[in-house]
C-alpha cells in the first residue's frame, strides 16, 4: 500500500469513526410508537366529544393535565428501559458520554416548556396554548440534539416546530375557539396530531426505513 493509499484509508477511518461517535438516539422507536399510540387514544375521546357536543369539555383542566402527565411518565419509563436494553445489547454503558451530552441539550427547552405549559393550564386555564408550548419546546429540544442525533430525530424536531407554529396561528386567528368555555377539544386535537401522529410516523419511518442516514454514512 502506498503512502497516499494509506493516508486516504486513514482519513476514511477517521471520518467514519467521527460520524459514528457523534450519533446518539435519544428516543427509542418502539417507545415513540407506544407513546404515539397512547397519545392518539387519549386525545380521540375529548376531540370526538367536543366535535359532537358543540365544543363541550369532557374533562376538567386538571384531568387533562393529569392524563398527559401519566402518558409522559409511561412513555419516558418505557424509553429509558428500551435505551438501557439497547445499550446493554451493544455492550455500552447506559449512562454514556452521548447520553450526558443529550441530556444537557434536551433539559433546558423541556424544563421551560414543561413548566410554562403547566402554569398556563393551572393559572390561565389555557389548554391549547399550553399544548402549543409543549409541542414547540419538545421540537426545539429535539433540534438541540441535531449535532449528534440521527437525521430522523432532527426531522421529527422540525415537524414538531412547524406543526406547533401552524397550530398556534390557526388557534390565534380563529376567534370561535377563543370563545369556547373550555378548550379541551382543540388542545387534545393538537396533542393527538403531534405527540400522537408524528411519533407514530417517526417510529414507522425508523422501522421501515431502508437504511437510516447515520448507517449509510459509515
Amino acid at each position: 500500500m502506498t503512502t497516499t493509499e494509506a493516508a486516504l484509508e486513514n482519513l476514511r477511518l477517521i471520518r467514519s469513526l467521527m460520524e459514528k461517535a457523534h450519533v446518539y438516539r435519544t428516543i427509542s422507536a418502539p417507545a415513540a410508537l407506544a407513546g404515539g399510540v397512547m397519545a392518539i387514544l387519549a386525545s380521540a375521546w375529548p376531540v370526538q366529544h367536543a366535535a359532537t357536543h358543540n365544543g363541550e369539555a369532557v374533562m376538567s383542566d386538571v384531568c387533562f393535565l393529569t392524563d398527559w402527565l401519566i402518558i409522559l411518565g409511561i412513555a419516558s419509563v418505557l424509553n429509558v428501559i428500551l435505551l438501557r436494553r439497547e445499550a446493554a445489547q451493544s455492550g455500552r454503558p447506559f449512562i454514556s458520554g452521548g447520553m450526558r451530552m443529550a441530556l444537557r441539550a434536551l433539559a433546558p427547552p423541556l424544563l421551560v416548556g414543561g413548566c410554562v405549559g403547566v402554569g398556563l393550564i393551572i393559572f390561565l386555564h389555557n389548554l391549547t396554548l399550553a399544548a402549543v408550548m409543549w409541542i414547540l419546546c419538545y421540537g426545539l429540544a429535539l433540534l438541540a440534539t441535531t449535532s449528534f442525533a440521527p437525521r430522523s430525530l432532527t426531522r421529527l424536531g422540525q415537524a414538531f416546530v412547524i406543526a406547533g407554529l401552524m397550530i398556534f396561528f390557526a388557534w390565534a386567528s380563529h376567534s370561535d375557539v377563543l370563545l369556547l368555555s373550555s378548550d379541551v377539544g382543540p388542545a387534545s386535537l393538537a396533542m393527538g396530531l403531534t405527540f400522537g401522529l408524528l411519533h407514530v410516523v417517526y417510529a414507522l419511518a425508523v422501522f421501515f426505513g431502508r437504511q437510516p442516514a447515520e448507517v449509510q454514512a459509515k
Binding site: 497516499t4 494509506a6 486513514n10 477511518l13 467521527m18 461517535a21 455492550g91 458520554g97
Partner: protein, 100 residues
C-alpha cells in the same frame, strides 16, 4: 515537498488512530465505551492506551464513587495538537498525489 518521516508513527497505527479519533470527538470516554465502539479486546485496548498515555497524548482518570470504578480517558493538549497535525499531514499527502 512532503517529508513522510513527519508522520507520527504512534498515531499512524490503526488501533491508536481509532482511539485518538474517538477521544477527539468529545471530552472523555469510558474504557467500556471505547471497547464497545472499537470492538477491541481488553488487552489490545489497554496496550494502545498505555502507549498513548506514555507519549503524553492522553490522560486517564478514575472515578471510584459508584458501585464499579470507572476509568475514562481524554486527549491532552499535546495529544490534540499531534492529532491535528497528523490529519493535516494526511491531507497534504492526498493533495500532493492528486494530478494538477
Amino acid at each position: 515537498m512532503i517529508d513522510f518521516d513527519q508522520i507520527d508513527k504512534l498515531i499512524h497505527e490503526k488501533g491508536r488512530l481509532s482511539i485518538m479519533t474517538l477521544l477527539s470527538t468529545r471530552g472523555e470516554w469510558a474504557f467500556q465505551e471505547l471497547k464497545a465502539e472499537l470492538g477491541m479486546s481488553d488487552g489490545n485496548l489497554i496496550s494502545h492506551l498505555r502507549t498513548l498515555g506514555t507519549a503524553g497524548y492522553i490522560k486517564e482518570s478514575r472515578d471510584e464513587s459508584g458501585n464499579r470504578p470507572r476509568t475514562s480517558y481524554e486527549l491532552t493538549t499535546a495529544g490534540r495538537t499531534a492529532f491535528k497535525e497528523y490529519i493535516e499531514l494526511l491531507g497534504e499527502i492526498v493533495k500532493a498525489a492528486q494530478p494538477t
